[in-house]
């Protein structure tokens, strides 16, 4: 069923749409990676962080986390504007 009507080479426009779908799939992975970064930060309290490294302040953490949040929302906005409505039905979700 999958090889039913997927041509080998696509027009420029369909090609672009497919790459946008790829981007839409990858976006949450990007979000996961970016939000995993805080785990690497030096911890406050009695953790094993080297003494000379100060723990990251909550204000910086807020700026980082919310910054990522805004970037993700903007990227999703961009993708939802660029993705063709018809592409959803054409795509078998299987490429």
């Amino acid at each position: 069923m999958k090889d039913r009507s997927i041509p080998l080479f696509l027009e420029r426009r369909s090609y672009r749409q497919r790459r946008l779908m790829d981007a839409a799939r990858l976006l949450p992975l990007l979000g996961v990676l970016l939000w995993l970064v805080p785990l690497l930060w030096p911890q406050g309290g009695s953790q094993s962080a080297p003494a000379q490294v100060d723990a990251v302040s909550t204000s910086s953490a807020i700026l980082y986390i919310f910054g990522v949040w805004i970037v993700l929302a903007l990227a999703a906005l961009f993708l939802s504007l660029m993705l063709d409505g018809k592409a959803e039905t054409q795509d078998g979700g299987s490429v």
């Binding site: 069923m1 799939r25 949450p28 302040s57 807020i62 986390i65 959803e88």
Partner: protein, 893 residues
């Protein structure tokens, strides 16, 4: 006292407003003017029921206790929404094409419409959600008492009333009124969704208002605010990595599996494209909701006396600053959060309870009873209303028994962890065709059991399990301790429960799925779910009741023609006691319509078409098989047609060939007739002429008389001979000739022929060569002699040499006897060589006695004798070759 009164008044006014909004939306939708109801913004706002009172009050408390960890609850849903292309898109498409009514329906449909699974999921959802509902009741009650604290008289007043009870009753009424207005769960609840959207705006607005007041009113701007955050108790990044990841995952899972989220995400979805807007708008909403949580918590920690409940900071901070209006708004925000969640959760749970528990039991009890379909509809509504009451009653009961847990967030997370047990069955179901009902069931049971043992029971009402069980395990089995399964201690209890329950859930689900074998229906559903994008387009909005009838009418008109359909629908509507053209889509009406349609398009197709409009639930494997059967019949029929058409083509070709032959024969016959009449006419003319002379002329000389009579006689003989020849030819051609087969020497036949022609050596000298005397023939000697005579006579007649000579040469070649007749004349011109055997052909106009039939007759005779007669060119004169099979001679020996 005044404050509390105003609060109650505002609260009632707000509720009235919500009723009004819901009512208006319902009416607009009913009149078909509800286009603005179907905007993606309403959809996005309705998703905000994810942000319950737990968010509104609890998040600040959570932040005050654990810093930024609270944000994980919103990161998970953000990732799910941003990654809508993966799961949500598929879920929404499945929900719309398969007419899924709830999360239990989704899972049971996927696994072969299993009733057992549906009951299982429903029970799990009720058990998991009940604490959550009680949490909402508690938060409203708490917020009331927060106001009451500042008002000593009000405190006593509040104590006299059971706020939670009143809230529960009010919510039950609202939900019953707008949530069970429509008969079908397929239909959307426009009123409810609209009210939720309004509440979503109110709570966002309230939280942001408090946040702005805190940041700019109390802290003095962003910069000072950030400094105060860093200076506070939660000023340093302090995070348990396991909890950070685990809670993000848990919230993402819960976002997909919570019944109320499924209700707004999938069931109430008007259009798949709304998901695109929600993909970025909802993360933005979540971001805004959590933006001011930390500032409020920090300022609350600074301003409020030690020991005050951080869960109420949103309310108590403005109150302590004398901002009554802001506090009122904040209260409304919290109230909105609580009510919207409870309403949708109650609708979702009541749909599940009535569809998967009450209705199956009812149908079993009234099995084959006289109750008509209208009774069933009645029962569905009643069941749903009762379920709403029961769900809210359970929530209230849990609130009363638990006595109000201290930390709101803890209850929420327990609930999340319970519902997350649905995730493997759900995701496995839509992405993996190999997932089976047994696997899903086993995984669910294991996961649910571990969750209940490790998380629900220890936390239930301050601990249902005794301290000894907690410390030493049941019956002294240490590896079964609720917070240290398999002896692994020291893990955060929540993470511990989530990890073990989901790990074993997934493992058991996969292993049992791999081992077990699905039923046909299960496999069919599995293929449909997993390959949903191959099978469906974006279906148009679900519509129910009259709208469904309208769809049916449109479809039927296409098939049966407008007039008939309108008449039919009008009759049906009249039968139901309705005016107009649109009857209710009752089973009776559908059956009749299906019958009408099946007359035009076949039974199985009609059923599938009606089912497509009315919902896929009515399509069974039998129907599909019937469709396949019909198709097979059609194919067989068409192949028969094809064969028949081939046969016809063949026959036509044969007919055409026969026709050509007949035409040719007719032409030949005409030619023959004209030829023969010409041949007959020539002698006839002279006979007539001379007989007229004999009759009319007087005094003829006897010499002339004799001459004329001889001419007439000669011509008559010629005619007779011609007729004899014709007769002979006709007999030969028709194959009616009787052959007189006997043995004899070839030389005898030749001698007989030479003698019969009466030739002498002066006229034609005949030379014979070859071993004719040795060759014995078994054939019709008279006929063969006739051929030879004809050939010798021809040589006599036509040989134009001065001393005509005919050589008769006999030879044997291969299995044949060859007799050549070669004269020394000028021969036959090449263009005439192929014509000499045709009837009535004569080489020249030279005087000759024959009618031109001789050679034709000879050729026919030779054909009868199994031999051939042909012209032999290049022999110096006219040469004819007679070839006879020698096999006849051989056979004679």
């Amino acid at each position: 006292m005044a404050t509390l009164n105003i609060l109650i008044a505002v609260c009632l006014a707000y509720v009235a407003l919500l009723f009004g909004v819901a009512f208006m939306a319902e009416r607009a939708a009913l009149k078909g003017r509800g286009n603005w109801l179907r905007s993606p913004w309403i959809y996005t706002l309705s998703l905000s029921i994810y942000c319950t009172a737990w968010t509104f009050y609890g998040a600040v408390g959570y932040a005050a206790r654990s810093g930024l960890e609270f944000v994980t609850i919103y990161l998970g849903p953000t990732l799910v929404m941003v990654g809508w292309w993966w799961a949500l898109r598929k879920m929404v498409r499945i929900g719309r094409t398969q007419r899924i009514t709830s999360v239990a329906d989704l899972i049971s449909s996927r696994y072969g419409k299993s009733g057992l699974l549906a009951v299982c999921v429903t029970l799990l959802a009720v058990i998991g959600i009940t604490p959550y509902i009680s949490l909402q009741l508690q938060s409203v009650t708490l917020s009331f008492s927060s106001f009451a604290v500042s008002d000593p008289e009000g405190a006593s007043l509040i104590a006299g009333y059971d706020t939670a009870l009143w809230v529960a009753v009010g919510l039950a009424m609202f939900t019953i009124l707008f949530g069970t207005r429509n008969l079908d769960a397929n239909e959307r609840h426009h009123g409810v969704v609209m009210a939720i959207a309004v509440e979503a705006v109110v709570k966002l607005f309230a939280l942001i208002a408090v946040g702005i007041f805190v940041v700019w009113g109390l802290a003095g701007g962003i910069g000072p605010m950030l400094e105060r955050i860093d200076a506070s108790d939660i000023g340093q990044w302090q995070m348990d990595g396991g909890r950070w990841v685990g809670l993000t995952f848990l919230s993402a899972a819960a976002f997909l599996t919570l019944p109320r989220m499924f209700q707004v995400l999938v069931v109430e979805n008007e259009d798949e494209r709304h998901l695109r807007t929600a993909a970025w708008a909802f993360p933005t909403y979540l971001m805004l909701m959590s933006l001011f949580v930390v500032p409020i918590a920090v300022i609350g920690l600074e301003l409020m006396p030690a020991g005050s409940n951080p869960d109420q900071f949103v309310l108590t901070v403005p109150l302590s600053q004398g901002q009554e209006g802001l506090a009122m708004l904040s209260f409304l925000g919290g109230f909105s959060s609580a009510t919207s969640m409870v309403i949708v959760a109650a609708i979702a749970l009541s749909t599940m309870v009535s569809n998967h528990i009450v209705m199956p039991i009812f149908l079993r009890l009234t099995q084959g009873g006289a109750s008509g379909p209208s009774d069933v509809r009645h029962v569905v509504i009643l069941a749903r209303r009762l379920s709403i009451g029961v769900v809210l009653g359970l929530g209230y009961l849990y609130y009363k028994i638990s006595g109000g847990g201290s930390a709101l967030a803890a209850i929420g997370l327990v609930s999340f962890a319970g519902l997350a047990q649905l995730l493997p069955a759900m995701m496995g179901g839509i992405f993996w065709r190999g997932a089976t009902r047994n696997g899903a069931f086993a995984g669910l049971v294991i996961g649910f059991a571990i969750w209940a043992w490790c998380l629900l029971l220890p936390g239930f009402g301050g601990g249902m399990l005794s301290a000894s069980v907690m410390a030493e395990g049941p019956w002294g089995l240490g590896w079964l301790r609720p917070h240290a399964l398999f002896g692994i201690e020291g893990v955060d209890p929540l993470l511990h429960a989530v990890m073990w329950s989901l790990l074993l859930n997934v493992t058991v689900f996969i292993i049992v799925s791999l081992v077990s074998f699905p039923s046909p229906l299960e496999r069919l559903q599995g293929a449909q779910f997993v390959n949903i994008f191959d099978h469906s387009d974006n279906p148009q909005s679900w519509s129910g009741g009259i709208a469904q009838s309208e769809d049916l009418m449109i479809m039927a008109q296409r098939i049966l023609g407008p007039e008939e359909v309108q008449a039919f629908f009008q009759t049906e509507a009249a039968r139901q006691g309705l005016a107009g053209y649109l009857p209710e889509p009752t089973p009776d009406f559908l059956a009749r319509l299906e019958r009408e349609l099946s007359g035009a398009v076949g039974g199985a197709t009609a059923h599938a078409m009606v089912a497509q409009i009315m919902g896929a639930a009515t399509v069974s494997v039998e129907d599909l098989l019937a469709v396949a059967d019909e198709t097979a019949q059609m194919m067989e029929y068409s192949s028969q047609l094809e064969a028949k058409s081939n046969e016809l083509t063949r026959t036509a070709r044969q007919l055409r060939a026969a026709n050509d032959k007949l035409t040719q024969l007719s032409v030949q016959k005409d030619a023959f007739l004209s030829q023969i009449s010409h041949e007959l006419r020539t002698p006839m003319t002279s006979i007539r002429a001379f007989s007229e002379i004999l009759r009319d002329a007087e005094g003829l000389e006897p010499k002339d008389l004799t001459r004329y009579a001889s001419i007439i006689h000669a011509e008559a003989i010629r005619l007779t001979r011609l007729l004899d020849d014709l007769l002979d030819l006709s007999v030969l051609e028709n194959g009616q000739v009787n052959l007189n087969i006997r043995d004899g020497l070839l030389s005898e036949v030749i001698s007989h022929a030479i003698a019969a022609t009466g030739t002498d050596m002066h006229v034609l000298r005949v030379r014979r060569s070859g071993p004719a005397s040795e060759i014995m023939l078994t054939t019709d000697h008279d006929r063969l002699a006739q051929v030879f005579i004809n050939l010798i006579a021809n040589a006599q007649k036509y040989c134009d040499a001065d001393r005509p000579e005919l050589t008769i040469d006999v030879s044997r070649r291969g299995g044949r006897v060859i007799v050549d007749f070669i004269d020394n004349g000028s021969g036959i011109p090449p263009q005439a060589q192929s014509m000499v055997f045709e009837k009535f052909y004569r080489v020249a106009d030279r005087q000759a006695g024959g009618a031109g039939l001789g050679l034709a007759i000879c050729r026919e005779i030779m054909a009868r004798l199994g031999g051939t007669l042909g012209y032999l060119p290049g022999q110096g004169g006219a040469a004819f070759r007679v070839s006879l099979p020698a096999a006849q001679r051989m056979a004679a020996r």
